[in-house]
């Protein structure tokens, strides 16, 4: 038994070490993104044909692309775009998911039934394909992409929140509050929502990574953020024609996506509750 305790303690220490390391690297990347205007050696969209497709040098740490723009600066600015937009989307999803999930889970009855049927209909589609079709209807662009992703993802959040609400609703303290005649909105805000935060935190860290991946995939196929903007997926799309002569144009932005997603995965994994690198949102529910 003692060995087992020791092993467990070791695991905790190792996990904590992982958490601190990945969190600090993540923080460093975020800070670099925020202070990109001060850190970037060049303007990310400054076109200079006299310096096109240059190899890495002191002036251009990662070289330049086909239009003579500084690759390093573009990567830095790309952090802002990807991370900012991903945060925006995740927060929007979280808010709408909380609203719908609480309404559906707490009220129960026909409202719950109707909401869940709508969710089922949306969940019948592979999510990114539905997002692509929504963008197809509205036209390409970052706003359309954001709205499409929010609509598609909200359903997962709503279902997850609903499950949590139904669980928490049965707690004694909620019943006690109801007996006292507290109004439902207050019960939700004071007793239910705060208790959902820990699992939601894990979900959100993981989802930011997934949304970054979705954004870059959509921008890569030309439906999301459009070309002149420094966004990693769009940069890979631009760089792919130079795969033979200048592979770094496509390797570097991809590596950035990978690092970001990997860090977020590590952080949420260290927070626990997440087995198998799959978001709890995507797990098969035992609803209805």
């Amino acid at each position: 038994m003692k060995d087992r305790h020791k092993a467990f303690a070791n695991l905790l220490v190792r996990r904590r070490w992982m958490l601190y390391l990945s969190l600090s690297v993540l923080l460093a990347v975020v800070v670099c993104g925020i202070f990109a205007p001060y850190l970037a050696p060049h303007d990310p969209s400054f076109v200079d044909f006299s310096h096109k497709l240059e190899s890495p040098s002191w002036d251009y740490p990662l070289g330049t692309d086909q239009l003579g723009r500084c690759l390093f600066s573009r990567l830095l600015y790309g952090t802002r775009v990807s991370l900012g937009l991903a945060l925006l989307i995740v927060v929007a999803c979280l808010l709408s998911g909380l609203l719908i999930g609480c309404l559906s889970g707490y009220s129960g009855g026909w409202i719950d039934h109707a909401v869940m049927r709508v969710c089922d209909a949306v969940l019948a589609f592979p999510s990114l394909i539905l997002a692509i079709s929504l963008i197809a209807v509205w036209g390409a662009g970052w706003k359309q992409m954001a709205i499409a992703l929010v609509i598609v993802q909200t359903v997962y959040y709503a279902r997850f929140v609903r499950g949590l609400v139904i669980n928490l609703k049965q707690q004694t303290y909620v019943t006690a509050a109801r007996v006292c005649g507290t109004n439902p909105v207050r019960i939700l805000m004071r007793h239910i929502v705060p208790n959902m935060l820990p699992p939601l935190l894990v979900v959100v860290t993981l989802e930011i990574g997934w949304v970054i991946m979705d954004i870059s995939a959509l921008s890569f196929i030309g439906l999301g953020i459009q070309a002149p903007t420094a966004e990693w997926g769009a940069m890979i799309n631009e760089g792919k024609s130079f795969i033979r002569s200048h592979p770094r144009l496509m390797i570097a932005p991809g590596a950035m996506i990978f690092v970001m997603v990997a860090l977020l995965n590590l952080v949420s994994d260290a927070f626990g509750e997440n087995k198998g690198f799959g978001s709890p949102l995507r797990r098969k529910s035992k609803s209805t």
Binding site: P126, I129, V137, I243
Partner: protein, 317 residues
């Protein structure tokens, strides 16, 4: 008998989901900022005069009430008639049938590859828990969860096609063209499946019946194949069903990168042409395949573990 009634019940639950999916795909066309008739005219390079728009509207069936249109759409779907493409003027159904074999082959090969690799990987990883081999497997799983698919595809192209010249770059003429795309698609699946299998096996190996089997003198191999694997495989089957969506999303991107003339690439082309009938039909077909995949996963599970059907009948969970 019990299995039969379970199968029927499970098939019946598909009906409302598919109805909902057909409605969502129908609604998609009503969300367009431009009139679909005008879109049709602009794709066909016809000047949008008033009478031309009216003619196209009645041709596309847009001049009847909303619910009649939906009923027509449903009736079309029942007959597998997906309308005519705005762009090529061919029937969408035949366009799909021409491209389906490539996508189906790609998806199937990827799925089989993923299973063939992840099962041994999961077993090795669980048996050698916390040994180097386990760490390697877990690192692979981690990579699979974090690597963007389209980037992985380009890295494979760069290292194996451009530098080594082992595999052809673009097309779908022979089996050699399928190697890189299916590996790209399988990679993230391998990560998920092997991790799930590892967790399932580790849990299963703690069960009392394993101890009993050991006491009876059974070897590790026999215990694994006869007792533990059967249960550990279940979450993998569920994941395979759930992941079908991810797999098909992957085919959209991968087919475009590798220039394979399959359904996914066709769908993306149609997105850029605003070929609404194709988009609408494609997402319905995807929903259908996705729902069917989940059904298959559930049925396989019920077949592996008949207890599941009994739980269902009690009306509990």
């Amino acid at each position: 008998m019990k299995l039969y009634s379970y199968v029927w019940k499970r098939i019946l639950t598909m009906v409302p989901v598919l109805l909902g999916a057909s409605f969502v795909s129908f609604l998609l066309l009503r969300l367009t900022p431009v009139d679909p008739a005008k879109a049709y005219l602009s794709v066909s390079n016809i000047r949008p005069t008033e009478e031309a728009i009216q003619a196209i509207r009645s041709q596309l069936g847009l001049d009847v009430p909303f619910w009649t249109q939906y009923a027509n759409w449903l009736w079309q779907l029942c007959r597998f008639d997906f309308g005519t493409s705005f762009f090529s003027k061919l029937s969408v159904g035949s366009e799909f049938m021409n491209r389906l074999p490539i996508t189906a082959a790609l998806a199937l090969v990827s799925l089989l590859l993923a299973i063939a690799v992840s099962v041994p990987l999961g077993i090795v990883s669980a048996l050698g828990k916390n040994r180097p081999i386990d760490h390697i497997c877990r690192f692979l799983a981690f990579l699979g969860a974090s690597l963007p698919q389209f980037w992985l595809a380009y890295m494979l192209i760069y290292f194996l096609s451009v530098k080594m010249d082992w595999f052809p770059l673009q097309g779908a003429e022979s089996w050699r063209y399928y190697v890189l795309p299916s590996f790209t698609l399988a990679f993230s699946l391998i990560a998920t499946y092997s991790r799930l299998l590892r967790a399932g096996l580790l849990e299963g190996l703690e069960e009392p019946f394993v101890l009993y089997a050991r006491a009876r003198g059974l070897g590790t191999y026999a215990i694994l194949t006869k007792h533990v694997l059967r249960h550990a495989v279940r979450p993998v089957v569920t994941a395979a069903g759930m992941n079908l969506g991810k797999l098909f999303t992957g085919t959209v991107i991968v087919e475009q990168i590798f220039g394979m003339p399959g359904m996914g690439g066709f769908f993306l082309e149609s997105v850029f042409h605003r070929d609404y009938p194709v988009i609408q039909s494609y997402i319905f077909v995807m929903a259908f395949v996705f729902v069917l995949g989940n059904l298959a996963a559930d049925l396989i599970q019920a077949w592996i573990d008949p207890r599941l059907t009994r739980f269902e009948e009690k009306g509990g969970k």
